[in-house]
């Protein structure tokens, strides 16, 4: 192998084959997916999400939530995700179309979040969890996202958005309140929008064994 041209052609072919298969093919075949009509509700699957939830994707990315949380339910026999009730069916490409970046994740240092919104619908509880994880789950090793909240003295009327129900050492002192910033509101809206409990023809729910 003494010729640069021969070497170069070989590299082009091997490298190019993977580029065609793993880059060009998905862009052409998976890059223009549409939601499917939902006959029951008259809406679409996956459902449209609020602008605030879309803004929350940026907060999720910025704080590296993906470093500890996956967002993918894998089918049998590659995993026991469905038996462990992380979701009712496997995650497929169409589930990702509302995302800017798919936060599939590489680690389960924390729980899978593909269906967080199916397990949790309470905004205040989610705020409490983000502000002081240990006050909600004592054994949690999740860091506190208190920097997305403002700890301030109540002047006049207390804020209607203030985080309610904090107990223990992380509760605000009397006369003080903890108010979520725009980022915290967006992050909570995004987390609560994570819910893959809608039918997609390409991902049927496995029948019970």
């Amino acid at each position: 192998m003494n010729k640069l041209t021969l070497l170069f052609t070989g590299i082009l072919l091997t490298f190019g084959s993977a580029w065609v298969g793993l880059v060009a093919y998905p862009v052409a075949n998976l890059g223009h997916m549409q939601p499917l009509p939902n006959e029951e509700t008259g809406g679409v699957n996956p459902p449209t999400v609020s602008g605030l939830a879309i803004a929350g994707q940026k907060v999720y990315a910025a704080n590296g939530c993906m470093e500890c949380h996956t967002q993918q339910v894998r089918p049998d026999p590659f995993s026991t995700d469905i038996a462990k009730q992380l979701g009712k069916r496997q995650t497929v490409p169409r589930d990702e179309i509302r995302e800017h970046t798919p936060f599939l994740g590489e680690y389960r240092i924390g729980q899978d979040l593909s269906n967080y919104g199916a397990r949790q619908t309470d905004v205040a509880a989610t705020h409490r969890h983000l502000y002081a994880p240990k006050s909600v789950t004592p054994w949690s090793n999740m860091p506190s996202y208190s920097y997305l909240y403002e700890y301030r003295k109540i002047v006049g009327q207390p804020s209607a958005h203030a985080v309610q129900g904090l107990t223990g050492s992380r509760a605000p002192k009397p006369g003080y309140e903890i108010v979520p910033t725009q980022q915290a509101e967006a992050l909570v809206a995004y987390l609560l929008s994570l819910n893959q409990n809608y039918p997609l023809p390409e991902s049927p729910e496995p029948t019970a064994k």
């Binding site: 490409p93 169409r94 680690y107 090793n141």
Partner: protein, 486 residues
């Protein structure tokens, strides 16, 4: 032993070598020096992240130091601040030597080095202030990746010009790997930046591209550059030609083909067409071929000549790195088997494999190469054999400890995550002691990098006492093809 001429690194005289080395000195020293700064910076952030996994209250409640940012900063500072510039420095020096061309216009390369470091700085700062893209190994915000690509294009243009001016003769193994690496990196980086960051395609198409990039970053960029260095340094230091031309060919082409396709094996069961994951599994398992080809080829090259490892830091680091590269690919092959992957996926084993690949293999080879190259560029000897010895043992112990506890802990965690009867809480509690030991390994690695930074500073600012002997780790026994001192 093959008599093929392309198994010989080069047949230059020492005067010719010195002229070639002098012509690349300024940019190569710049790339290595800044790389060592980012190495230290990245490993400190790795340590912070490892501590935070054990004690989440460490530096808690502060946006800049939240785990999701520190761990990403460490990975990206090491990938773009340390590993890539180190690979570029090695590549520039090897290109000049193997093409036997004196470097013209070195100022454009110095400029590229400065631009590259500005890009890295902007990227790291961007992550810390909250512009992380959350794409594995491409977490730098879009505004910094433009700067990085610009710097690399200057370097690639220089490499093309130099390869065209090369003195006639067969291409040596290292040159194949150099061409492959220098060609793959801009293609990988530009494709992924364009399709995932600058003008992202629909998210449903992104997982395969992101996996292709993350796999290619190691297998098609860092591994080829490391092997280019190893296939030059090992024969050079022991004064023997590479054992088998055919095994070199096999290692090269199998790495390129399977390395390019193996990325998607990390997405078994994930949201992408099943055939893509299957191809990734097949290619991932086949990574055993380059692993075996490299291992056999270099072992028979070194057979009976392992002695210089006792005194030559360059050889000791390089051989350790190559051995760990063989282990990395072997583990990758095992980890790509779906039955294994269903246990190991999402566990700490992934962290262990990253540590083995990026630090244990690529960084160790890069250390070896820097120990070989810098005295020849500066005309000075390393200041302290004691520090070099500390560097080697801290790094080796750190990697071995880190990888073993992450793999063992990851296995237990993986089984717990998979078992329907075990709660998530238990998976965390089982892995806790292993994460504690992993934090200890991170301390050792910071220590190793500190020793390396000190020894570099000592060389750069000429702190060696005049008149003392060159810094070999032990008494030198055998003659190499080339004197270690210039």
């Amino acid at each position: 032993m093959s008599n093929d001429q392309s198994s010989q690194p080069d047949t230059l005289t020492s005067a010719e070598r010195a002229t070639l080395d002098a012509s690349v000195a300024a940019p190569v020293i710049l790339f290595f020096g800044t790389a060592i700064f980012w190495l230290l910076f990245g490993s400190v952030f790795e340590l912070i992240s490892a501590i935070k996994l054990v004690w989440p209250c460490f530096l808690d409640g502060c946006g800049i130091f939240t785990y999701g940012r520190t761990s990403v900063v460490s990975i990206n500072a090491l990938a773009y601040g340390w590993a890539t510039p180190a690979a570029i420095g090695i590549g520039l020096w090897l290109t000049a030597r193997l093409c036997r061309v004196q470097l013209a216009r070195y100022k454009s390369l110095v400029a590229a080095g400065i631009i590259w470091n500005i890009g890295t700085f902007v990227g790291v700062a961007g992550i810390l202030i909250g512009d992380n893209t959350s794409i594995s190994h491409l977490n730098f915000p879009g505004y910094s990746t433009h700067i990085l690509l610009l710097a690399f294009l200057i370097i690639a243009a220089w490499a093309i010009v130099t390869f065209n001016q090369r003195k006639a003769g067969p291409l040596y193994v290292s040159q194949w790997f150099l061409v492959a690496g220098l060609f793959s990196f801009p293609w990988l980086f530009a494709t992924a930046s364009q399709l995932l960051v600058w003008k992202p395609v629909q998210a449903s198409a992104q997982p395969a591209i992101a996996a292709w990039f993350a796999g290619g970053f190691f297998n098609l960029w860092l591994a080829p550059m490391g092997l280019a260095a190893a296939f030059y340094l090992i024969p050079k230091t022991i004064g023997r030609a590479v054992n088998s031309h055919h095994l070199s060919l096999l290692a090269f082409w199998s790495l390129l083909l399977f390395g390019a396709w193996s990325g998607t094996s990390r997405l078994i069961g994930g949201p992408l067409p099943a055939w893509m994951a299957s191809v990734g599994v097949a290619a991932g398992v086949m990574m055993i071929i380059p692993a075996i080809a490299v291992a056999i080829n270099l072992h028979f090259t070194l057979d009976g000549h392992y002695g210089p490892m006792s005194w030559s830091p360059a050889l000791r680091f390089t051989i350790t790195g190559v051995s760990m590269l063989v282990f990395t690919w072997t583990f990758t092959a095992i980890n790509s088997i779906p039955l294994v992957n269903s246990v190991t996926n999402f566990s700490d084993i992934t962290r262990g494999l990253n540590l083995l690949g990026y630090y244990g293999s690529f960084s160790m080879i890069a250390f070896g190469a820097i120990y070989y190259i810098l005295p020849r560029l500066t005309g000075k000897e390393w200041p302290s054999s004691c520090l070099i010895s500390w560097h080697f043992w801290l790094a080796t112990t750190g990697v071995l400890l880190g990888v073993s506890v992450l793999v063992l802990g990851g296995l237990i965690q993986g089984y717990a995550l998979q078992d329907i009867g075990v709660t998530f809480r238990s998976s965390m509690e089982f892995v806790f002691p292993f994460r504690f030991l992993a934090a200890l390994a991170a301390v050792l690695i910071v220590g190793a990098n500190l020793a390396f930074a000190l020894v570099f500073a000592g060389l750069h600012w000429s702190l060696r006492r005049p008149g003392t002997a060159p810094a070999f780790i032990a008494v030198r026994e055998e003659n190499s093809q080339e004197p270690v001192a210039v």
